[in-house]
Symmetry: C2
Subunit: 662 residues, 2 copies
């Protein structure tokens, strides 16, 4: 080996060790964090940043950068130390503020907080599954915008994951889809150290991981010595040549390498002792002073990256300038934070019989908007025919056609949720669909979307006990509340075609946070009194008697039709009711006090009719006696019979309301 190469090798090891020591110092300073993976996986992260990631630390968000998602989010100290060393906009003081309130270096990576962090992570499995969405986004953009030999979009998606990620079902689901879709530009670096939080993985996790991923259509590469960044780098090089399959690189590492507790779970999640840190630094030849940095290693690391990446971001900027206006405008949407879309040009053509399930109206709108805007893409968790989210002539997103608009997520709601996050992170406005009751399956991924302020749209159909025959396992009760109460997520529950249009208008007009549209299975009348443009206020007066109302019925979705009928029936009995439609309770609560008082005057009695959890509605009505809601599980039967069993048929409702107003 020529002397020069040896020299380089030594220096690079030094950089890795510097990163290790910075990370354990951060954890020590914070008195909190995860030194095990920082010490064990530093060569992996180094190999990636030094030799492979196409990035620009000075322009961290340039669009065609390679993405890196730290699925093992507890390795945040390792990531931040690496980003600092690589020249991202982080100072030593930022590293010293690791895990402190309002710092740029929070406990787990947070999107939008730290330059160079492409995705929030922490809940295990989410990052890996999100990466599949990122790789799908890349595949779609690549198919869409690359002409000729000089590709505009061609980024790789890298993930660092650990055993914990691979134990979570979501990672299995997502990997299965990635294999089916042949996402060859996805490369997962698996930090395989045989240790989980509770002890050796053998206690609970005895899989042949290579075989598992091969069974799912992946390319698998093994690196026996995870302390060798050269071997890791070589493996990544090989992975990049995969043409038909995503790649898993299983890298055998030692958790807490160089610590006295190396190779055990003791080193996983608590700061190291002072002595341990001193000994590690002595072994590695790093000065035993907290946050001591050798300026040389720092500069060398930055130089290595610069040599490889210096032109990438500028080159991309040049390329997009040569695009035609239409393409450039389109691409800009993906690149810019403003996600507002308008659907004013949508014209609705009601069916002759004036009956339509909101899920059917939804399909018309999605078809229209999807054809209008290339950023809208989505699919269903194996319920296209029920959710009505299929885009006709939109083709299917498949391994042989990444231009397809219809994603077959399979019966994988949780992965669907994370994949939507990945698509959003690349600028799409994606939607995913399933039955409302199964929103539970993807809730953790919805939470990540809300945390990252992404604009996903969740199309949840079959949104009450009126699901009917399928029974209580398929009938939502508490789900609307669970979604309404999720911070930064909005729930729209339109009652008919008009309100469905209004809900989508409001959703597409948003530039922050995800939205749920909750849709009915059954056909209902398209009402004359509903107004699309009122939906954005959350709630509005639908029907009002000429004289002052005796009481107000508040309702949403399918049940609004029952409320109207109750009002109609009680009128001849001398009871004059106002009917208020409340497609979005949270929005309504944010209106001015004057508007709220106007719609729901304090002195008039109010009754809510909604076949879902009462908790939502105590926000409007204190006395639960006036809530005609549902706090128990549904039942199997014809939907009319199910409604009746729980008092949501018009006869029962009429009687109940009359009694309440006596």
């Amino acid at each position: 080996m020529p002397n020069e190469l040896i020299q380089e090798e030594i220096n690079q090891s030094k950089i890795i060790d510097q990163i290790r020591c910075l990370a354990i110092d951060m954890i020590s300073e914070a008195k909190s964090g995860h030194p095990g993976i920082a010490l064990g996986a530093a060569p992996i992260v180094y190999a990636l940043y030094a030799n492979h990631l196409r990035i620009d630390p000075k322009n961290p968000n340039y669009f065609n950068r390679d993405r890196f998602i730290l699925s093992a989010g507890h390795a945040s100290a390792l990531l931040y130390a690496t980003l600092y060393m690589a020249g991202y906009d982080l100072t030593l003081d930022d590293l010293k503020a690791f895990r402190q309130i309002d710092s740029k270096t929070p406990g787990h990576p947070e999107y939008g907080i730290t330059p160079g962090v492409d995705c929030s992570s922490g809940p295990l499995g989410q990052g890996l599954a999100t990466a599949i969405g990122v790789a799908m986004a890349e595949a779609n953009l690549r198919a869409k915008y690359n002409k000729g030999k000089n590709p505009l979009i061609d980024f790789n998606t890298y993930v660092l994951c650990g055993d914990g990620d691979l134990m979570e079902g979501i990672s299995y689901e997502a990997a299965s889809l990635a294999g089916t879709l042949k996402l060859n530009k996805l490369i997962v670096l698996y930090d395989s150290n045989n240790i989980c939080l509770d002890g050796p993985t053998s206690l609970t996790f005895n899989e042949n991981i290579a075989m598992r991923f091969i069974s799912q259509g992946w390319n698998v590469i093994s690196v026996e010595d995870g302390n060798s960044f050269e071997l890791i780098s070589k493996a990544i090089e090989e992975a990049k040549t995969s043409t038909e399959k995503p790649t898993l690189i299983e890298i055998k590492t030692t958790i807490g390498k160089y610590s006295e507790n190396a190779g055990t779970n003791k080193v996983h999640g608590a700061p190291l002792s002072k002595e341990d840190i001193s000994n590690i630094k002595e072994t590695l030849g790093i000065r035993d002073i907290p946050f001591a940095i050798s300026q040389n290693t720092c500069e060398e690391f930055r130089q290595i990256i610069n040599d490889r990446c210096q032109n990438l971001s500028a080159e991309f900027d040049r390329k997009i300038l040569s695009l035609d206006d239409k393409t450039l405008n389109e691409l800009r949407y993906f690149m810019e934070p403003d996600k507002k879309l308008q659907m004013n040009s949508f014209t609705y053509d009601p069916p002759e019989d004036n009956l339509e399930a909101t899920r059917d109206t939804s399909q018309k709108i999605l078809n229209y908007m999807s054809k209008l805007y290339p950023f809208i893409i989505g699919g269903s968790a194996d319920l296209f025919a029920s959710n009505k989210t299929y885009i006709k002539d939109g083709c299917n997103f498949q391994a042989d056609n990444y231009l397809g608009k219809n994603i077959y997520f399979g019966v994988r709601e949780h992965a669907m949720g994370a994949i939507l996050n990945g698509l959003s992170l690349c600028g799409f406005r994606p939607y995913g669909s399933t039955f409302l009751v199964f929103s539970d399956y993807l809730k953790p991924a919805i939470r990540m979307a809300a945390l990252m302020n992404l604009q996903n749209i969740y199309v949840f159909s079959h949104d009450s006990i009126s699901v009917g025959e399928d029974g209580p396992t398929h009938q939502p009760v508490e789900q609307l509340l669970a979604l309404r109460s999720l911070p930064n997520l909005e729930v729209f529950r339109p009652a008919d075609a008009n309100e469905t249009i209004g809900a989508y208008k409001a959703i597409f007009a948003k530039s922050n946070g995800p939205s749920v549209i909750s849709l009915a299975r059954n056909k209902t009348k398209i009402l004359e009194v509903t107004k699309a443009n009122e939906v954005e206020k959350g709630g509005y007066i639908l029907i009002d008697p000429i004289k002052k109302a005796d009481a107000i019925l508040i309702s949403s979705g399918e049940e609004l039709h029952l409320a109207i009928e109750v009002a109609n029936r009680l009128k001849p009995k001398g009871i004059d009711l106002r009917v208020v439609s409340m497609p979005n309770l949270e929005r309504f609560l944010k209106q001015t006090p004057e508007y709220i008082e106007d719609v729901l005057p304090v002195e008039i009695r109010k009754i809510v009719i909604e076949a879902s959890s009462s908790y939502s509605w105590n926000k409007l009505i204190y006395n639960s006696k006036y809530l005609i809601t549902l706090d128990k599980f549904g039942a199997s039967g014809k939907y009319q019979d199910v409604y009746k069993k729980y008092g949501f048929d018009v006869d029962s409702l009429e009687e109940k309301v009359e009694e309440l107003l006596k």
Copy 2:
């Protein structure tokens, strides 16, 4: 082949075809259901009931029966038709009432409704994962109670699943643990028909399933012709000889066999046309009259089962009578519905400094109760050290020791939830643990427990933003509400050791429905004013001024300590506050109006302090201004700093309360 055998074969095919036709008639009568799997998988279910399942249709719940879980719950018509034919307590009228309100034959199998149904199912993946819990229960009971050659407990657990089940992450998680634990008495019959709801599985699901299960430590057997009950039966016979591994039998079938739409997704989820049914019946030689039954086939099926099973249940009864009293009593608990346990003998030994995190108190109680009662078993989703749910000297539940009390669920919260359901279905009182924020991951399984009225205990620690450094991905906000609003689930959130004892007393005293115990990460004072015995009322007066209170502070968990401090600080300022502890809001709301008025008199102002979603508390207080709660995501930082950021430090709270009471 001798004539006799041919004869038998023909007759058995006739029984299968009879079952098929009954099932499609049921679906046709209901105008709702899933004929595809009924036609395709009938030979599988037949082979199982005729030749393998050790059951007693007249005594369907006898304890050592083989369990059968229909994970593909949409095959309910097939199951009910088979149960009827097999002689369970179902009439033709019951079959005709398929999917009708209040029938014994609901849309998806419901535990406790239909004799012979061992588990509710429908949400895909849940059944398979629950079966892993059933097999674990059997392994534990077998290890515990079998002496000598003549085993008392030795039942097999069978599952029928489809592609949809295997796409769900939960099934992967559970299968991974089953392989690790070498649950050889678990046999999964995989109805492999290459069709999912949206079309051919190739659209989204291209796994080598055999390889996948082998990678997880399973034995895999293939049956190429799924229309041959003999081949299926032979495969099951072979599976029963597996000594070290659970078995997956992949059975290639044709969805909707004999229908005009056989082999396509069209036949999955809607009734067949009249013509289609007529043609199928003609092909099969069944009279074309709805619900026509050949009495011969019915009797023959019952005879086949009877010949094999007639003595099983009586034999088991005999065996248990020969047990010693202690063992018999113990075993009876597993077999009987009354699940109440008392913990009166528990004596609490407070630490010297009088400081303890409720998770630590919880560990003491679980250790005590677990040693006292063999029915209590549980574990953690890779967070033993944090959740504090490890039973010291309880040994680990492992492949070489099924007597172990500590289950290492791995980072598999969802499978953990379903496994608890399986354990409960076999009479255990199991617990599972993770961080409260990750309750989202197992919510669908908790819902199944609530639906089945099982007595699972969920130990959720780290129950607020006071998690601190780990940041918003690890800090629950909306989770307490989500759990409180889940029908038939109770949430206890004790404030200190005394209330933790009270909460467990109340939980163990329950004989219906699952419970959550929500525990704090941080140490808090053991209060003099808290009372274990008051917890069962849900809420009670903790501190009361001598004169009439100016206002009432209501709080729970860790925040109760802040509320008390606020009250103490405001007293010298002339503001006399009552403090009410509310460890279980739902229970409190069910108390008598008198008790509620006594604790929270209408005319006194009330303020809630809880660092979680406001929706919970509008049930007590209409005006949200008096709710010091949290409707946004947390942040990473020292827990005191996080509290402060959101106004939950004592200074901020004091100021806020004072202002509110001005």
